[in-house]
Symmetry: C2
DNA sequence: CTGACTGCAAAAGGTTTGCAAAAAG
DNA sequence: CTTTTTGCAAACCTTTTGCAGTCAG
């Protein structure tokens, strides 16, 4: 669960604050969370925390490598713990549901990009758009 | 170049308007364009066209399959002609440059998603984030 | 003519910023 | 004590919406 997150921050010259701890904990416990969602979670404990603090904190946490974010669909980005198993988001453009699959599923593709154009893929950041199985099924019935 | 775009619109019960023609032409000529960019292009010819019209028009054009859009990075989506060869965007998270590779490069991966989870990928909509060859090179030097 | 489409202005959603007060080291 | 960090309010940017007038069919 908790790592030496405070060490990591300190090493990068950042200070340790309750807000940063709370945001990090919220990211870890929620799994997939937007800034707005994180605010709600954090405010359960500390009601006075502001949205702009969430944004600034996420920026810092990402900078030191304690969290990552991915863009899913049009709206807000979602933040992930770095401790999580890396995964790929499958976004259904019909029902907007998001499924995750293990990052290894893309290994072949990632390797191909590396060999072919020297591109190093950040797998966890990838969003794959398309139609999920349920929506395809539903379409067939019509 | 131009197709029977007016036919397509009509078939779907939409009307033919100069705005729609201009937006479609702009998408086709610009290749990768954001709504804002498209507005600028369209306004070269018709200065009175409004941004909201661009948005509404793109929605219609996408609905009837004359254009597609993809999400690249944080900001605005970019719209593409459907006549273009389908391609995948490789977005460099360091320099923000976008390279395109032919959609076929992902065939194996797409097939895997189909077999494994029944997900039908919209290849042209996929954005792959990571580090481009140049940025990786630059990082090694430091 | 009649309903679809457009322009305009205002609202909405998400993110950023300036500043003074509060807290970390 | 010094510097970073925070809360607040306002600004910003992109996209959406309501409405009345306009235009395509």
């Amino acid at each position: 669960m908790s790592r030496d997150w405070d060490e990591v921050l300190r090493e990068h010259g950042f200070r340790i604050t309750p807000q940063r701890q709370l945001v990090l904990e919220a990211v870890n416990s929620l799994g997939h969370a937007t800034p707005e969602t994180l605010l709600a979670e954090v405010q359960k404990t500390a009601g006075a925390v502001n949205l702009s603090t969430i944004y600034r904190t996420l920026e810092v946490l990402e900078q030191v490598g304690l969290v990552t974010h991915a863009h899913i669909g049009h709206g807000a980005p979602t933040y992930h713990s770095v401790d999580e198993d890396p995964h790929i988001h499958l976004v259904c453009d019909t029902c907007s549901k998001v499924n995750s699959i293990p990052a290894e599923s893309a290994d072949v593709f990632v390797q191909l990009l590396r060999d072919q154009v020297g591109f190093e893929t950040d797998v966890a950041h990838v969003s794959v758009h398309g139609q999920c199985a349920e929506c395809l099924e539903r379409m067939k019935l019509l």
